[in-house]
Symmetry: C2
Subunit: 329 residues, 2 copies
C-alpha cells in the first residue's frame, strides 16, 4: 500500500496557517535555476531564446481526480507531467513551473507535503533542469491545482499542429492506451456497491497494483523527445491528452491533411486518453529521433481526417469522467 | 443596478459543453500580440529582454469573493488587476496573461462571458498592450480562477523588496484604504439577517453604489508607475495587497532597514488591504515619477520595522475574510 495515502492525518492547513504551510511545502519543491526565485512579487525566469512557450492546466478534485484512487503524490506528479508534456509538444525544453493550489481548511498539511513530493519526483524524473519558481496557496471547498509551465525553444521554430504535409511520416512516442486501461479497471473494480470510487475496493481487487493503473496515476510523457523531434525537423506535433484518434483528428484538421494509419491499433490505443505521448509528423526521409516509431503517413486531405487503409477512423475520444458531478468521492 | 448581474440566467456550461463555451469566451478576450496565440499545446510569448517576470494568483469563490457582492465582470477585472499589479511591482511591463477557470456545470454561460468582458475591460484600462495568450476551462464544484501574468523588464534590473537603503525616500502610488473601506461597508450593510452576503441588502443600503465598494470590486493599480519607478532608480518596490503597514514591514525586513512614516495616515489607510498600489523607495535626490508621493524615509534598522516619528507602527494587516468557511454565499 502506497505510504503516501497515510498523509490523510495530522495537523490541518487551518491549524497551521498559510505562512507555516507554505514554509513546509516550499522546501520540498525543486527550485530549478530561475534568475530570481520566490520572495518577491514575481519570479524572474531566463528566456535565452527571446521568446518562451507557456501552457496552463487546472486539475480539480472530482472531475479530474479522486482521492480514493490517487495519493497526494500521484496528483502532484500528474499535475506536473501533463503540463511538461504540452511544453515538449512545441519542441521546447521546460524551464520553469508556477503552481497555484487551493485546499479545504481541513486538509492535513501532510497531504500538501506529499503533493509537493510528487511535484519534485516528477520534475526529477521528467525534466530535471526545471523547477518551481513561484506559486500561490489559497483556501477552497474543492481541492484545486493550477500549474503553468514554461519552456525555451533554443532558437528553433515552435512545432505547431498545422505543419503536416502530404508525404510526411506519422510517428508516435510514448505508450498508447495504458492510462485508459488503468482507468477502465478502476471504474470497474475500484468502486463500492454504489459505484463510488473506493480505495478499499481498488486494493482488494488488485487494481491498485496494476501497472496500467500506475500509468493512469503517474503518466510518463517522453519530454526529451519533444526537443529531439523539433531538432529532427518535425513538421507538426501535439501531446496525446485525449486519445490518439481525437488528437490525430486535431492535427489533421489544423494541417488540412488526412492521416493514414499503417499500424494495427486496438480501440483503447486509438481512443483512450491521458497517456501524454507525442504525435508528430516528419519529412519522409527523416531518421525518427528518440522513442518515435512510425505508425502511418500523411496524405492529401480526403473526406475523413483519419483512415486505416481505406476505412475512416472516428476522431473521437473517450471521457469516462464526463458524467461525474465534480463533487463526490 | 449593474446589468452584468443579469448574467445569472440562460443556458449553462453543462448545457453547451466545453468547446462551445470556449468559443463564446475566447472571442471576448483581448488577444494581445503573442508570437503564437491559442490553438496549439502552448502559446509563444516574446521576451525581448531575455528574461521574463511571472506571477500567479488564484481567486476562489467563498474566501476571495462572493457572487452576492461582485458581478462576474467585477471578478474578471479583479483577477487581472491583482496579477498585473505584481508584474508592475517588479518594474516590468505586462506582456501576457494565461487564465485557468473552473466553474460548476450549472453556471450560466453568460456568467463566463461577463467574466471575459471584465478581463477585457481591465486589460484595456490597465495594460492595453497586454492580452490573454492561453488558458484552460474546467468543471468544479467551486468557481475558481487562476491567472498567471508575464512581464518584460526592458533591460532593467528587477526591482526587489530587499534593496532599500538608509536615506532613501519612501513613496507610494495609488489609493490607500478605499478597498478596505468598501469591504467594511459590505460586511456591515450588505448582509442579511444571518450575516450572510446579500445583494439585496447591499443595494437597499446604498453600499452597492459606494465608490469605495467599487474600488473593492475593481481595484485600479497604477500599472504604468511600476516601470516608471524602475526607470527612476527605485531601490525597492512591492504591491500593496495586504495593507501598507504589513507590506511595508515585508519590505523593511527584506532590506534590513526601518521605514519611518512622515505622513499622517488613518488606521484603514495603514492596515486595509486590496488597494494594490505600489510602495517603493528611491534615492534621496530622485524626482518621484508618475503618481508617486513621498510618505516617509528609510532609516538604519532599529527595533521596529515601521515607525511614525518615534512610535512603532504594528506591521499587521487586516483580513475580514479570515473566518469565512469558503463554502457559503
Amino acid at each position: 500500500m502506497d505510504a503516501t495515502y497515510d498523509a490523510w492525518a495530522g495537523p490541518t492547513v487551518g491549524d497551521l496557517g498559510e505562512l507555516a504551510v507554505l514554509d513546509r511545502i516550499v522546501r520540498r519543491l525543486p527550485a530549478g535555476t530561475p534568475v530570481l526565485g520566490p520572495g518577491d512579487d514575481c519570479a524572474v525566469v531566463s528566456a535565452p531564446d527571446g521568446r518562451f512557450v507557456v501552457t496552463t492546466d487546472m486539475m480539480v478534485h472530482g472531475p479530474d481526480f479522486r482521492w480514493a484512487w490517487s495519493s497526494p503524490e500521484d496528483v502532484g506528479w500528474k499535475a506536473v507531467a501533463t503540463n511538461l508534456s504540452d511544453v515538449a509538444a512545441m519542441g521546447a525544453v521546460p524551464t520553469g513551473l508556477v503552481i497555484a493550489l487551493a485546499a479545504p481548511q481541513g486538509t492535513p498539511v501532510a497531504v500538501l507535503e506529499s503533493f509537493a513530493d510528487g511535484v519534485r519526483v516528477a520534475v526529477d524524473a521528467l525534466a530535471p533542469t526545471c523547477g518551481v519558481v513561484g506559486g500561490d496557496l489559497s483556501t477552497s471547498a474543492t481541492f484545486t491545482v493550477s500549474v503553468t509551465a514554461f519552456g525555451d525553444l533554443e532558437g528553433r521554430a515552435p512545432v505547431v499542429r498545422s505543419g503536416a504535409r502530404p508525404g510526411d511520416v506519422l510517428a508516435v512516442s510514448g505508450e498508447l492506451g495504458a492510462a485508459a486501461r488503468g482507468l477502465t479497471r478502476l471504474f470497474r473494480e475500484g468502486v463500492d456497491e454504489h459505484g463510488e470510487p473506493s480505495r478499499a475496493a481498488a486494493v482488494a481487487s488488485g487494481a491498485d497494483g496494476d501497472p496500467d493503473v500506475a500509468r493512469q496515476r503517474r503518466p510518463v510523457p517522453p519530454i526529451a523527445d519533444g526537443p529531439l523531434a523539433a531538432g529532427a525537423g518535425a513538421t507538426a506535433m501535439l501531446d496525446l491528452s485525449d486519445g490518439l484518434a481525437i488528437d490525430a483528428g486535431r492535427l489533421a484538421r489544423a494541417s488540412g491533411v488526412t492521416l493514414s494509419l499503417e499500424a494495427d491499433l486496438d480501440d483503447i490505443a486509438l481512443h483512450g486518453g491521458e497517456d501524454h505521448g507525442l504525435l508528430a509528423t516528419f519529412p519522409a526521409d527523416s531518421a525518427l529521433p528518440g522513442g518515435f516509431r512510425r505508425i502511418g503517413v500523411v496524405r492529401d486531405r480526403s473526406e475523413a481526417y483519419l483512415v486505416h487503409g481505406t476505412t475512416p477512423v472516428p476522431t473521437t475520444g473517450w471521457d469516462p469522467y464526463a458524467d461525474w458531478d465534480g463533487a463526490a468521492g
